[in-house]
């Protein structure tokens, strides 16, 4: 089976989707001739032509706004916003337009659209290249929000997102692009080629939206995580020896409550982990869902580990980043309660 980095898997997903459906178009800042600042669209313009993969002016509003018009026409745009930190000029188009078009027109117009964005920190990108804005999208009715944690899922989820009839926010943890980063920033980085989830089937397959995956089975405590934090949680379990069951949500909305609840009812304990700031983060939703559905199975309060409620700093990256030590402490606290 081919081995791919997350970048290669994402590129392969778009390649497969464009090859199968002439209506799939890919565009954004620097994505055409150059192939994207992270090289996720490399070669697509050469292969499919400038009318299917092209560069745009630096206007996230324009990228998403035109993509909505194209989606309504009948195309399936898969656009790139260069960093999730830059999506805000497009936020009105996403929230007021893309998310509501099907509903407000009673299905006369729809918006099959994927907005890809590199998300998260760990690359010394400072405030403008490190944010995790997923909660700004999960809070909006009419949007699906996806965060893959590995190449195998990334390809299958992206193809599923492109084939989905509704708008999908596709957040790509940029620290995972080249390897499964577990938060031990002082250790050598492994490559996806040495990881089983770097084995990515050629051709078409999908990973269904709305289905979580138990990444590590365990008996002691459930960890709900997504993106980079899945790997951080695995490191925390290894470091502490706590037998954590790690649920990789993969899709935040629609969320897979069945898998979440089954795990928490089994372990009786739960820690929610995300990189994004704590207050009103998606972890708050997860924590509420767990207590609503699993209250009588809980033996400890639901714990949360998240980014601090500060802007993402530069020099203090590793003080800010919720690494394995912090997650490990939260696991230990959940076990002690």
């Amino acid at each position: 089976m081919p081995r791919m980095s997350m970048i290669e898997a994402i590129r392969d997903a778009m390649d497969v989707a464009m090859g199968r459906d002439d209506d799939v178009v890919v565009f954004g800042e620097d994505v055409g001739y150059f192939g994207g600042v992270f090289r996720c669209t490399q070669g697509l313009q050469q292969k499919y032509g400038k009318h299917r993969c092209f560069d745009t002016p630096i206007s996230e509003l324009g990228i998403v706004g035109t993509a909505i018009g194209m989606g309504a026409y009948g195309l399936k745009p898969c656009v790139e916003v260069q960093f999730a930190d830059y999506v805000y000029p497009a936020y009105d188009q996403i929230v007021s337009e893309a998310a509501r078009l099907r509903y407000r027109s009673n299905g006369q117009f729809t918006c099959p659209l994927v907005i890809r964005m590199p998300t998260g920190g760990g690359i010394f990108g400072g405030q403008t290249h490190s944010q995790s804005p997923e909660a700004l999208f999960t809070h909006v009715a009419g949007l699906k929000t996806v965060v893959p944690s590995n190449p195998l899922d990334a390809k299958g989820l992206l193809i599923a997102a492109i084939e989905d009839p509704d708008p999908v926010i596709f957040l790509e943890p940029k620290r995972l692009y080249n390897g499964p980063f577990d938060g031990h920033h002082d250790r050598p980085v492994t490559a996806w080629s040495k990881h089983p989830l770097g084995e990515v089937p050629a051709g078409h397959y999908t990973v269904p939206l709305g289905k979580a995956e138990v990444r590590r089975a365990g008996a002691d405590v459930t960890v709900l995580a997504y993106g980079t934090m899945v790997h951080v949680a695995e490191a925390a379990a290894a470091d502490t020896g706590i037998d954590a069951e790690i649920v990789d949500l993969r899709t935040l909305v629609p969320y897979d409550l069945d898998t979440i609840a089954a795990s928490v009812r089994k372990t009786g304990r739960c820690v929610v982990v995300h990189e994004a700031t704590l207050t009103s983060g998606f972890g708050a939703e997860l924590s509420a869902l767990v207590q609503e559905t699993c209250f009588y199975h809980l033996e400890a309060p639901v714990g949360r580990v998240a980014g601090w409620d500060t802007p993402y700093p530069h020099a203090q990256e590793w003080d800010y980043f919720p690494g394995p030590a912090r997650v490990g402490r939260a696991l230990a606290e959940a076990m002690e309660a």
Binding site: V25, H51, R52, T56, P57, S59, L61, G62, G65, T66, A67, I68, G69, M70, A72, Y73, G74, L75, P89, D92, Q93, S96, E97, R100, L101, R102, Y103, R104, S105, N106, G107, Q108, F109, T110, A141, G142, K144, D164, P165, D166, G210, V253, P254, Y255, L257, D258
Partner: protein
């Protein structure tokens, strides 16, 4: 240190406020027929002057004159008059219905009927408008059933949008009328995207964007122009300058620019100003721009110079911010009266036939209204079900919405 005077902060003001006597005699209105009609493939650089003039066809004597005249048959002109009269009557009845509590809100077109009614006649089946809330003439002139519009305004059991949208935010794919958002300016750039898609697919359809003078200040307007310019999108971009954005006069959005049309020049987009109260002029300019788009010559920006005679909406009171007589003083006249006078001057119409047509149109509108009201109004009779509220958020209802629908007990 500097010897310059202290800085002064500048806030533009309209010339006339309540109590003033409006006088527009200083507004330069070119004579009908005086503005040239360039070839559709003219170099945008060679027609920059058209962004500072006003293309007009109907003169004071009701004659159609100049190079933009002569495109419409007698029958088409009579239809145009009827469309505008229908829209005006429709507005009157729906304003009354709102006052009677049959709906929550309404927005009328008084004075601006020609803009959308005439423009619609320059389009082909399959073309798509991305309208604002003051272009219902696109639907009326396009033959969309009035009763469907009323069902939407009443949010009744037959509302094609199932009660989800504020009154007048219509949607009809089949009639080339994109779902109205209600957010200002957002759809201008979507029109460009739709047009880009048509070009990507090698199709023959064009898109038409609409925006008000006030909303040109939104970033969406500028994004639309740069994308339309870069990709030479087959789109006609319309600015309806009706002088007032609720209480804010057009100078606040226009700033130091001479005209709104001039905004197109920096993008290399041909920009024309047209007398928005002149049915023939609007139609002729629309035809010119649509042909440019269809012949792969790219976008056109049109500023329709008109005047919002009525209130912004049923929630607005213009007497608080502008003189009552301002609309009478407005130099471009009334679009219905001007087309009527043209038809009379050509002996195609008479006062008598006009009165007769008014009565017939009123009967037609009342009949549609009765039919719509048989399906309910906002607060009485048939209404969309609470269950409908949960449908259509996604193509397939996800589990969390199913649970919420159960919780709601519907």
């Amino acid at each position: 240190m500097t010897d310059a005077a202290p800085l002064r902060f500048h806030v533009p003001e309209p010339e006339f406020r309540p109590g003033d006597t409006p006088d527009f005699s200083q507004v330069a209105i070119p004579k009908a027929g005086s503005v040239r009609r360039p070839e559709v493939d003219a170099d945008p650089e060679a027609i920059r002057d058209l962004a500072f003039s006003i293309i007009r066809v109907l003169n004071r004597n009701g004659e159609a004159v100049g190079p933009w005249a002569g495109l419409l048959s007698d029958e088409e002109l009579a239809t145009g008059l009827r469309d505008m009269m229908l829209l005006r009557t429709f507005d009157k009845r729906m304003l009354m219905a709102q006052r009677q509590g049959k709906t929550s809100f309404y927005m009328q077109h008084m004075g601006e009927e020609a803009v959308s009614a005439a423009f619609r006649k320059a389009l082909m089946p399959g073309d798509m408008n991305f309208p604002t809330y003051r272009q219902a003439g696109l639907l009326i002139a396009g033959g969309y059933p009035m009763v469907e519009m009323m069902n939407q305004i009443y949010s009744n059991e037959a509302d094609p949008l199932k009660g989800r949208q504020l009154p007048v935010l219509y949607s009809s794919r089949d009639y080339g009328f994109f779902s109205l958002s209600g957010n200002l300016g957002t759809q201008f750039v979507q029109a460009v995207g739709w047009a880009m898609a048509s070009a990507i697919k090698g199709d023959s359809k064009i898109a038409v964007g609409w925006i008000g003078d006030g909303s040109t200040a939104e970033s969406d307007f500028h994004a639309a122009l740069v994308f339309a310019s870069t990709y030479k999108a087959p789109v006609v971009l319309n600015i309806v300058n009706n002088q007032w954005a609720i209480s804010t006069y057009q100078g606040i959005a226009r700033g130091g620019s001479g005209t709104f049309a001039a905004r197109g020049l920096g993008f290399g987009i041909p920009a024309l100003r047209v007398d928005g109260n002149d049915y023939l002029a609007v139609h002729a300019v629309a035809k010119w721009a649509a042909e440019r788009a269809r012949r792969n010559l790219g976008p056109t920006l049109i500023e329709h110079v008109t005047y919002r005679v009525g209130a912004h909406s049923t929630s607005d009171d213009p007497s608080a911010y502008r003189p009552k007589a301002e609309s009478d003083a407005w130099p471009l006249g009334d679009p219905v009266l001007r087309l009527k006078n043209h038809l009379i001057a050509r002996e195609l119409w008479s006062e008598e036939r006009h009165k007769q047509a008014e009565a017939e149109i009123l009967d037609t509108v009342i009949a549609a209204q009765k039919e719509a009201e048989s399906h309910g109004t906002l607060h009485s009779g048939g209404r969309p079900s609470a269950r409908d509220m949960f449908e259509g958020v996604f193509a397939e209802m996800p589990a969390h919405l199913r649970r919420q629908r159960q919780d709601a007990g519907v």
